[in-house]
C-alpha cells in the first residue's frame, strides 16, 4: 500500500473513485420500482444494471483500479490536559486478600456432579419414608416445568412418568453443575473452616434464598416441600461437593506470579509480616 514517490513523500494506493456502484444501485432500484410503476422503468433499470455490472467488473479485473495519493508526513502536536497523577492513599494490605491458588473450572463441575448424585440418596429416602415411592421427590422437582401438574394428587406424583424423569434430570443436572461451579470458585475464598462454610452455611443460605423465591419459581414445589428433608439433601450436596472439590489439586493464579520471588520459592510465609517490618524500619 505504501511506496516512496518522486518527492520523497510516502505515496498510498487508494481505490479509484467509480460511478458504477451508484449506477448499479439505481438500476436495481428501477427494476424493483418497475413492479409498481411501469414496465419501461424496469427495462431501463435492467439496462443500467447490466452496463454497471460490466463497468464494475472492468474496474476490478484483471487489476483493481487505483490511484496513488501523496501522503506527506509531518509531525502533529498532541497536547494532553493531564497535569498530575493522583494516587489514592491505601493501606499496604488494602483489599489484597486475593487467593494465590484456586481450583480449575472442571473441579467445580466434578464437585457439582458428585454432590448432585449424593443428593439423590436423601431425596429418595424421603420419598420412600413419606410416600412409599421412589419417584415422588423426582416428580415434585419436575412439576415446576409442567403447569398442568399443579393440581395433581400425591398419588400421581408417586408414580413414574417418563417426561417427569427427563425434566427432573435436566433441572437437577443443570442446577448441580451450576452450584458445583460456584463452589469451585468460592471455596478458595474460605480458607478457614471449609467444611462449616461450604458444607453447612452455604446450603443454609441457598435454602433461605430458594425459600424466598420458590413460590414464584415452582408454586407446586413450594406447596408440598418438606423443608427438613430439603435442608438435609442440600447439606449432603454441600459436604460431598466440597469434599470432592477439596480433593483436587489447585492451580496458581496471576496473583501468585506477582508475589516476590522469596515468597514464591517458599522462603517466607507471611507477606504482611514483611511489610510491617518495612513500615517499622521506615
Amino acid at each position: 500500500m505504501e511506496h516512496e514517490n518522486e518527492t520523497g513523500h510516502a505515496g498510498v494506493h487508494m481505490p479509484l473513485p467509480t460511478v458504477w456502484p451508484v449506477v448499479l444501485a439505481l438500476g436495481l432500484t428501477l427494476i424493483i420500482a418497475g413492479m409498481v410503476t411501469h414496465v419501461a422503468v424496469a427495462v431501463l433499470g435492467l439496462m443500467l444494471s447490466l452496463v454497471s455490472a460490466v463497468g464494475w467488473f472492468r474496474n476490478v479485473l484483471p487489476h483493481e483500479a487505483h490511484e496513488i495519493v501523496e501522503a506527506p508526513i509531518e509531525p502533529l502536536e498532541l497536547v494532553s490536559v493531564r497535569t498530575s497523577i493522583d494516587r489514592i492513599p491505601v493501606e499496604p494490605m488494602h483489599r489484597k486478600v486475593i487467593p494465590v491458588e484456586t481450583f480449575r473450572f472442571s473441579t467445580g463441575l466434578m464437585g457439582g456432579i458428585a454432590g448432585g448424585i449424593a443428593m439423590i440418596a436423601p431425596a429418595t429416602l424421603f420419598s420412600l419414608i413419606k410416600y412409599h415411592s421412589l419417584w415422588y421427590a423426582m416428580n415434585l422437582l419436575a412439576a415446576g416445568g409442567f403447569v398442568s401438574w399443579a393440581g395433581e394428587s400425591n398419588q400421581f406424583l408417586a408414580q413414574f412418568h417418563l417426561q417427569g424423569f427427563l425434566a427432573a434430570l435436566a433441572i437437577h443436572a443443570v442446577t448441580s453443575i451450576l452450584v458445583g461451579s460456584l463452589y469451585g470458585a468460592m471455596l478458595p475464598m474460605f480458607p478457614r473452616w471449609p467444611i462449616l462454610t461450604a458444607g453447612f452455611l452455604a446450603p443454609l443460605l441457598w435454602t433461605g434464598l430458594l425459600a424466598s423465591v420458590l413460590n414464584v419459581v415452582s408454586p407446586i414445589l413450594n406447596e408440598r416441600i418438606d423443608w427438613f428433608w430439603f435442608v438435609g439433601s442440600q447439606i449432603t450436596f454441600g459436604l460431598v461437593a466440597g469434599f470432592v472439590v477439596n480433593l483436587q489439586a489447585k492451580v496458581r493464579t496471576p496473583q501468585f506470579q506477582a508475589l516476590p520471588f522469596a515468597l514464591r520459592a517458599g522462603f517466607h510465609a507471611n507477606l504482611r509480616h514483611d511489610d510491617e517490618e518495612k513500615d517499622g524500619q521506615a
Binding site: M14, P21, N59
Partner: protein, 562 residues
C-alpha cells in the same frame, strides 16, 4: 501544566482539496467516491434529512392528538403519518445514521485506510438511499402512475391481513415492502464490510482484546444484521408473492397464517432495537471514559456483555406477541428471555457508572448527553422489564404505555447518544468544533421536551389510551395528558432546529478543532481533522487499548498494565 507530545502525523494533500471546484465537480466527487469517510458522511446527511421529515410527521400527529375530537388531519392521513414516521425513523434515520458513524469510525479506529470492500460500501449506501426515495415516491404514485398517490398506511410492522390486496388495494403497501427490501440489501452489504474490515484490516498490535469497544459493538451489530435482515427480506418477498401471484403465506382463510408474518417481522424487529441501541452503547463506551479521564471500567465484561446481548436479543422477539395467545410455555420462555437480557445490559450500566466513579468528570456537551442517556436508558429498561411480564403486557399491550416505553429507548437512549456522538466526532469530521453554548441550549431544551413528552405519555397508556388512534372523546380523561405530551414535542422540535443551525453555523464559523480536541485515546484522534483520504500515511502500531494515551504518556503507558 499540560504536557505536549509530538507524534508522527500527516496532513492531507492540500492540492487535492477543491475549494475552487465547480458544483458539478463536487457532485461527481461525492457520487463516485468510495472513501469510507465520505460515504459515512453521506449516510449521516441523508439520515438527518429524513430525521427532519419524520420529526415533522411526529409533530403533525401530536397536533392532531393535542385536544379531543380534533380534525387537524383526516384518519387516513393519520394512518399514513404513523406508518411513514415509524418506517422512516427505523429504516431511514436510525440505521443509516448509525451505519454512517460506523463507516466513518471503524476503519479509523482500527488503523485501516478504508473498508475492506470500498465499492460495495458505496453500493450499499446508494441502494439504501434509493430505498428511502422509493418509499417517499409513494406519496406521488402509491396507486401506480395512473392513480392518485398515497403513502403506505399499514403501520411500520404491516400486520397481515391488513397488507392483503383486499384491505390494501393500490400500490402503497408495495412501496413499503420494496423500499425496505432495497434498504435491507444495503444493510447486509454494510454489515459484510464491517465484519470483513474488523476481522481482516486491523493495524499491527491491535488484537481483538485491544480493539476499541465501539468496534466490538459494531461487529456484534453487523452479525445481528446478517441474522435478522434475512427473515425480514424473506417475509417481504412472501408478501409480494401473496399480493402479486396469489400465494397465501399470510392469508388465514386460504390456509396461511397471519401470525407467521408476526413471527417473521418480530424476529427481525426486536433484534433491530439492539441493532439500533448497540451503536449508542458504542458511543457511550468512547465518550464516557474520555470525559471521566479514566479508562473504561471492565473492558472484558463490556465485550462479553455486548456479545451476550447480541445472542439473547435473538430469543426475545415474541414478547411483542403476548396478546396473540401463544400459550403458557412460549409466554414463560419469552418472559424469561426478555428478563435475562436485562443482566448484560445492567452490567453495562454498572460499568459506565464505575467509569464515572472517582473520575475527573468534564461536563462537555457530549458528556451531558451521555449522562442523560444513562438515566433515561435505565428507565426505558425498567419499563421494558415491566412489559416483559406477560400478564402486565396483556393489560397494556398496544397502549400508549408501550409507545412511551419504546420512545424512551429510541429517543431517550439512542437519539441522545447520537447527539453526543455528533458533538464528540463533529470536530474530527469537519475540523471545526460545534458551539458548546448552543450545544448546552440544545441539551436542556431537548431534555425538557423529552421528559414532558415521554414521561407523561405513560399516563394515558395506563389510563387505557390505545396507540394509533386518530382522535379520542373528551370524557376519557386523556386530554390533559395529551396536551402536556404535545407541548413537549414543541420543545424537542425547537432543540432539533437549534442543533441543525449549530451544525451549519459551526461548519463555517466554528473554532478550529485540531487533531485531538478532547485529549482522547483512540487512533482516529492521531490524524488530522478532517482526516486525509488515506487516513494514516504510516500504518499505526498499537500496544494497548488506548494507543494515543501511550503516545502522550510514554512514562506510564497502558501497555505496562494490560
Amino acid at each position: 501544566m499540560a504536557t505536549s507530545t509530538r507524534v508522527t502525523g500527516h496532513l492531507d494533500n492540500p492540492t487535492a482539496s477543491g475549494s475552487h471546484r465547480g458544483a458539478l465537480a463536487v457532485l461527481q466527487d461525492w457520487l463516485t467516491t468510495v472513501d469510507h469517510k465520505k460515504i459515512g458522511l453521506m449516510y449521516i446527511g441523508y439520515a438527518l434529512v429524513f430525521l427532519l421529515i419524520a420529526g415533522f410527521q411526529a409533530l403533525l400527529m401530536r397536533v392532531q392528538l393535542l385536544v379531543p375530537n380534533n380534525n387537524f388531519v383526516s384518519p387516513e392521513v393519520f394512518n399514513r403519518l404513523f406508518t411513514m414516521h415509524g418506517t422512516t425513523m427505523v429504516f431511514f434515520v436510525g440505521m443509516p445514521i448509525l451505519f454512517g458513524f460506523g463507516n466513518y469510525l471503524v476503519p479509523l479506529m482500527i488503523g485501516a485506510r478504508d473498508m475492506a470492500f470500498p465499492r460495495l460500501n458505496a453500493f450499499s449506501f446508494w441502494i439504501s438511499a434509493f430505498g428511502g426515495f422509493l418509499l417517499y415516491f409513494s406519496y406521488f404514485a402509491g396507486s401506480g402512475l395512473y392513480g392518485a398517490g398515497t403513502a403506505p398506511d399499514v403501520g411500520w410492522f404491516a400486520y397481515a391481513p391488513l397488507t392483503s390486496r383486499v384491505f390494501s388495494p393500490g400500490h402503497s403497501t408495495d412501496y413499503w415492502t420494496l423500499s425496505i427490501f432495497l434498504s435491507g440489501i444495503g444493510s447486509i452489504g454494510t454489515a459484510l464490510n464491517i465484519v470483513a474490515t474488523t476481522l481482516c484490516m486491523r493495524c499491527p498490535g491491535m488484537k481483538l482484546n485491544r480493539m476499541p469497544l465501539l468496534v466490538w459493538l459494531y461487529l456484534v451489530v453487523a452479525c445481528l444484521v446478517f441474522v435478522t435482515i434475512s427473515p425480514l427480506t424473506a417475509a417481504q418477498i412472501m408478501l409480494c408473492l401473496d399480493r402479486y401471484l396469489g400465494a397465501h403465506f399470510f392469508d388465514t382463510q386460504a390456509g396461511g397464517s397471519a401470525v407467521l408474518w408476526m413471527h417473521f417481522f418480530w424476529i427481525f424487529g426486536h433484534p433491530e432495537v439492539y441493532i439500533l441501541v448497540m451503536p449508542a452503547f458504542a458511543f457511550a463506551n468512547e465518550i464516557i471514559p474520555v470525559f471521566s479521564r479514566k479508562a473504561i471500567f471492565g473492558y472484558p465484561a463490556m465485550v462479553a456483555a455486548s456479545v451476550c446481548i447480541g445472542f439473547i436479543s435473538l430469543s426475545v422477539w415474541a414478547h411483542h406477541m403476548f396478546t396473540v395467545g401463544m400459550g403458557p410455555g412460549p409466554n414463560a420462555f419469552f418472559t424469561f428471555a426478555t428478563m435475562v437480557i436485562a443482566v448484560p445490559t445492567g452490567i453495562k450500566i454498572f460499568n459506565w457508572l464505575a467509569t464515572l466513579w472517582g473520575g475527573n468528570i468534564h461536563f462537555t456537551t457530549p458528556m451531558i448527553f451521555s449522562i442523560g442517556f444513562l438515566f433515561q436508558f435505565l428507565i426505558a429498561g425498567l419499563t421494558g422489564v415491566m412489559l416483559a411480564v406477560s400478564p402486565f403486557d396483556w393489560q397494556l399491550g398496544n397502549s400508549y404505555f408501550v409507545v412511551a416505553h419504546f420512545h424512551y429507548v429510541l429517543v431517550g437512549g439512542i437519539l441522545f447518544m447520537i447527539f453526543a456522538a455528533f458533538y464528540y466526532w463533529y470536530p474530527k469530521m469537519t475540523g471545526r468544533m460545534l458551539s458548546e453554548r448552543l450545544g448546552k441550549w440544545h441539551f436542556w431544551l431537548f431534555v425538557i421536551g423529552f421528559h414532558l413528552t415521554f414521561d407523561f405519555m405513560h399516563v394515558p397508556g395506563l389510563l387505557g389510551m390505545p396507540r394509533r388512534i386518530y382522535t379520542y372523546e373528551a370524557d376519557r380523561g386523556w386530554a390533559i395528558w395529551n396536551l402536556i405530551v404535545s407541548s413537549g414535542a414543541v420543545f424537542q422540535a425547537a432543540a432539533t432546529l437549534l442543533f441543525a443551525y449549530n451544525l451549519v453555523h459551526s461548519y463555517f464559523k466554528g473554532e478550529i478543532a485540531g487533531p485531538d480536541p478532547w485529549d482522547a485515546w483512540t487512533l482516529e484522534w492521531s490524524t488530522s481533522s478532517p482526516p486525509p483520504s488515506y487516513n494514516f500515511a504510516v500504518t499505526p502500531t498499537v500496544d494497548s487499548r488506548r494507543p494515543l494515551w501511550d503516545r502522550k504518556h510514554p512514562e506510564e503507558t497502558d501497555a505496562q498494565y494490560e
